[in-house]
Symmetry: C2
Subunit: 432 residues, 2 copies
Amino acid sequence: DSGALKQVARILNSGLSPSDIAHLLESSPPRQRALLWNLVDKELEGDVLQYLNEDIQTEYLSRLNARELAYILEDLESDDLADLLQQLPEKVIAEVLETMDEQDRQRVEKVLAYPEDTAGGLMNTDTITVRPDISIDVVLRYLRQHRALPPMTDSLIVVNRRDEFIGMLPITKMLVSHSTATVREVMDTDVEPIPVTLADTRVATLFARYDLISAPVVSEDGHLLGRITIDDVVDVIREDADQSLMSMAGLDNDEDTFASVWTTTRRRAVWLGVNLLTAFTASAVIGLFEDTIAKVVALAVLMPIVASMGGIAGSQTLTLVIRGMAIGQISGANVRWLLNREFFSGILNGVLWAAVVALAAMAWFQDVLIGAIIAAALVINLVVAALVGTVLPLFLKSRNIDPALAGSVILTTVTDVVGFMSFLGLATLFYA
Amino acid sequence: DSGALKQVARILNSGLSPSDIAHLLESSPPRQRALLWNLVDKELEGDVLQYLNEDIQTEYLSRLNARELAYILEDLESDDLADLLQQLPEKVIAEVLETMDEQDRQRVEKVLAYPEDTAGGLMNTDTITVRPDISIDVVLRYLRQHRALPPMTDSLIVVNRRDEFIGMLPITKMLVSHSTATVREVMDTDVEPIPVTLADTRVATLFARYDLISAPVVSEDGHLLGRITIDDVVDVIREDADQSLMSMAGLDNDEDTFASVWTTTRRRAVWLGVNLLTAFTASAVIGLFEDTIAKVVALAVLMPIVASMGGIAGSQTLTLVIRGMAIGQISGANVRWLLNREFFSGILNGVLWAAVVALAAMAWFQDVLIGAIIAAALVINLVVAALVGTVLPLFLKSRNIDPALAGSVILTTVTDVVGFMSFLGLATLFYA
């Protein structure tokens, strides 16, 4: 058995890349995960950690003391190191920084100074810069003095004497230029440097829109601070898209798929509790009409149809608007048009399905009145769902509340209340 | 007014990049969109088209004849061109290909030969290849003969005499090597080339995991066919993540946010119809217990709580599993553990919220029995929801059905039926 373990360890440490190991750990239930983690070489641990999701990172990091942390983390790039450190308590961060040498510490502190979800938190400080008036030939000789260039170096950054950003010198462009040309003649000057405070999602949009591999980051006064590379941006893109999906189900983006029973139960409990309030609100509305239901039991049979069709219609609009907001398509200028479109589309689908449901209800209960009532309630609920589904996410965002997280609960509450209220209310008017 | 239009046209065509123009078009309601599109320079149209979403692409492309198409599309890279062409009818594709010169046609036909959602559909054929036994110096001189290198060229591809893939020569590595070293000495040989038939989502996983900028694509017998670049992979990643979100609401990934009332109504109608079947199924179950409800109207008031809590709990599990499957974490090996975890977590949350709901129901209706019944029904429904939420997406995927699209409808049907059946069924046993 220990022979088998040794073999697994060999494959793990020499056959797989750190990101493969991280993926394997993330895909393993707790016991196997602990076992595998023990087999990972000490020198690889830092590399593996940076690819793990935050939930799991925090778990491992919290078990180590400052000296162990410093040892594990020493070879990481400054942005990845800062990401990991930011999950630790202030006191531990200070201890880890103390064990590092002066140069490394300054490198990391520069990145730590910016929030994780901004350009500053994404950037690396390992830039290669050149001056505009030297020749390509000199640049090539200068590069040759390096043992290796930083990963994802597709361009060198051109700065002036005061370290202010001037332009980008793409390596591919340099390779097809005359060696006597100057950097100034070859460089691109139409590149907009990224302000260090820009939100990471905006950075991702820029990378996707302009097909960037790396981009310079500057301070407010134009000084070069570092550069952002596509590998870190790809992670932002993945997380962003993931987040809407997970939030809409009340889940966390960083959630460990194989979290323990206890952790899972605790997290889900919160969301179920919030939704229980919605459910009780709906019940309270139904409770107002107990007498009517006692007289016409068919109402109890049909009422979930009105509520659930409203919920479905509303969540379609909600999802479309949340997605449109996330990719920057929806703003004040076009909301009116959208609201109109949703309103008319809500009426059309309301009328269509109201007719179908009305006919079915009449046939089922041999009662024309109940068909007319459910039809009216359906049209009302589908139109309300369309309008709320459009306006709600924009309102929530303006209040800095995550529309994906809060949107679906609030919307369901509205469609339940309006659905039961309109159906049972109309029924009370006509049957009482 | 025409002066203002001219000014808009000037800004549009000289101030914005093609991807900016595409974003502006996507963010505009139909009338403004048509107006803006007319202002875009003919030479830019092809470039802009490739950045638009598929819905809008198809709309514009269908208005053009083969000659206009060929003119607009002539400057695109082969993979982007193939993407656009694939949306046209066979006959139009053939016509467009006929108007192209021999070399361009062959280039495009190579890519068209592979499905859009495979490595072959993503690849470009504009590779720069070198032989292993020449020196770095010769490579640099060879590169200098080019006017420009293809976009995203971070590595040259090393092939043998028979055009079989041997290794990658990163440009950054070449720049720090001795000019007398041979390509063979400098190149990386631990790069796994991508098989041309690999699914695009798998390609995206490889790029994200190994931080790639470009990767070689080979045929089954190892011949180099082309290369895939990160810009196209970023699009795949965005679409993939988007797809789960949109599918769960019954929406299409390529859906135009500003589609017309008519298009929107038609698409939504289908989803509402499917969900109406779910709603009627739930009603049919309630209908079985009309007599019990007539006796105890409180049942009608409380029954939506059981169904909705089951739906919420189930959709949390469903979303987690769908996400885990999408990023390749969940497979046969760990499903059992997951099922166990969900089972126990379902019991714990079931018992917790059953207690809360039972107490509330007893207090509300002054009836101990109804509290006990709703508690039992809640535990049953939450456990069923957890189990179905885990197994259903795996089952659907094994049948090649999109779990995000079909999963939520089927799950809701199950939690509604089980919720109403267990609550009203138990009530019938004890109150009848």
